[in-house]
């Protein structure tokens, strides 16, 4: 957490807003002067006063995470003005569905192999019975259903207008890696 309310270095927010950065500036701990784009994006999408209100409704220990997630959403919205980070959610959900299909197929193959390896009348050769097949689908992707039912599966409809979403590749990792200038999301 950077503190930039010293005499010589106003925080990125106060620099952007062209005002004096007072000690106790609500933005200073979260918008260091070395990351001007972070505040520029947040200001463009949410507005300084909305961010102030949001931060004031949170406990101090929650604010850094909140600012970083707001910065992530703002950068996503600047990059994709139609879908913002909802585009990323759609992309990741499709990846989850694809992986689930692959896992189902692999588990089905494994069960077929495991069944074929255990003949009904013959003794099991040593070295084979020690390998236990994995149980089919241990429900790692239950959250996808919760998203579908509870949180809303976001599905952009097919457009005739050729809008190309920028979410063709998304690096793994949480939003904590983001927030800096030029950072991948």
């Amino acid at each position: 957490m950077a503190s930039s309310s010293s005499y010589n270095s106003p925080c990125a927010a106060c620099k952007f807003l062209r005002r004096k950065c007072m000690s106790g500036c609500v933005f200073a701990p979260y918008f260091p002067p070395e990351e001007p784009q972070k505040f520029a994006n947040v200001h463009k999408i949410f507005g300084a006063s909305n961010v102030t209100k949001l931060l004031n409704e949170l406990l101090p220990h929650q604010r850094e995470d909140a600012v970083n997630s707001l910065a992530y959403e703002a950068e996503a919205r600047v990059r994709d003005p139609v879908y913002g980070c909802v585009g990323a959610i759609s992309f990741l959900q499709r990846q989850v569905q694809r992986l689930q299909k692959e896992l189902d197929a692999a588990n089905a193959d494994l069960i077929r192999f495991a069944c074929n390896e255990i003949p009904t009348a013959l003794p099991v050769p040593s070295g084979v019975s020690s390998i236990q097949p994995m149980l089919p689908r241990q429900r790692p992707l239950e959250f996808t259903r919760r998203i579908n039912e509870g949180e809303g599966l976001y599905q952009p409809p097919a457009y005739s207008h050729p809008y190309i979403s920028p979410w063709s590749d998304i690096p793994s990792g949480g939003f904590n890696d983001g927030g800096g200038e030029g950072k991948n999301m």
Binding site: F46, Q100, A106, F113
Partner: protein, 116 residues
């Protein structure tokens, strides 16, 4: 202005007349007031109007939907918003890839046992 002459949810909330070219009227109908309440709280009316006006008309509906989705999730989770969903999806993908790698490794053992 909504069909039938009524005000849209945005103009009702902002307590103003709903003009015939209101940018909000198509995307914030009067029968879903909470939708505008959330976007207003998170983005503010003028920011939403600006973002919609900068888009071609045939993309505005999707943009309004995604803004509403993000705003709703930010209201429900003020710390992480829908970035929390992204984080959990990354974890799911990681778990699924790990499980897939394990399963494929076991398959390889079976296949190589058969070949031998």
């Amino acid at each position: 202005m909504m069909p039938g002459g009524g005000r849209c949810a945005a103009c009702k909330y902002l307590r103003r007349r709903c003009p015939s070219d209101c940018i909000f009227s198509h995307y914030f109908p009067a029968n879903d007031p909470q939708r505008f309440v959330c976007v207003h709280k998170i983005y503010g009316a003028s920011n939403v109007a600006k973002m919609l006006q900068q888009l071609p008309a045939n993309l505005q509906a999707e943009a309004a939907d995604s803004l509403s989705f993000e705003a709703r999730h930010r209201v429900e989770d003020p710390v992480y918003g829908c970035v929390g969903i992204i984080h959990r999806l990354h974890e799911q993908i990681h778990n699924a890839e790990t499980q897939l790698a394990r399963t494929q490794a076991q398959l390889s053992v079976f296949i190589s046992t058969r070949i031998d």
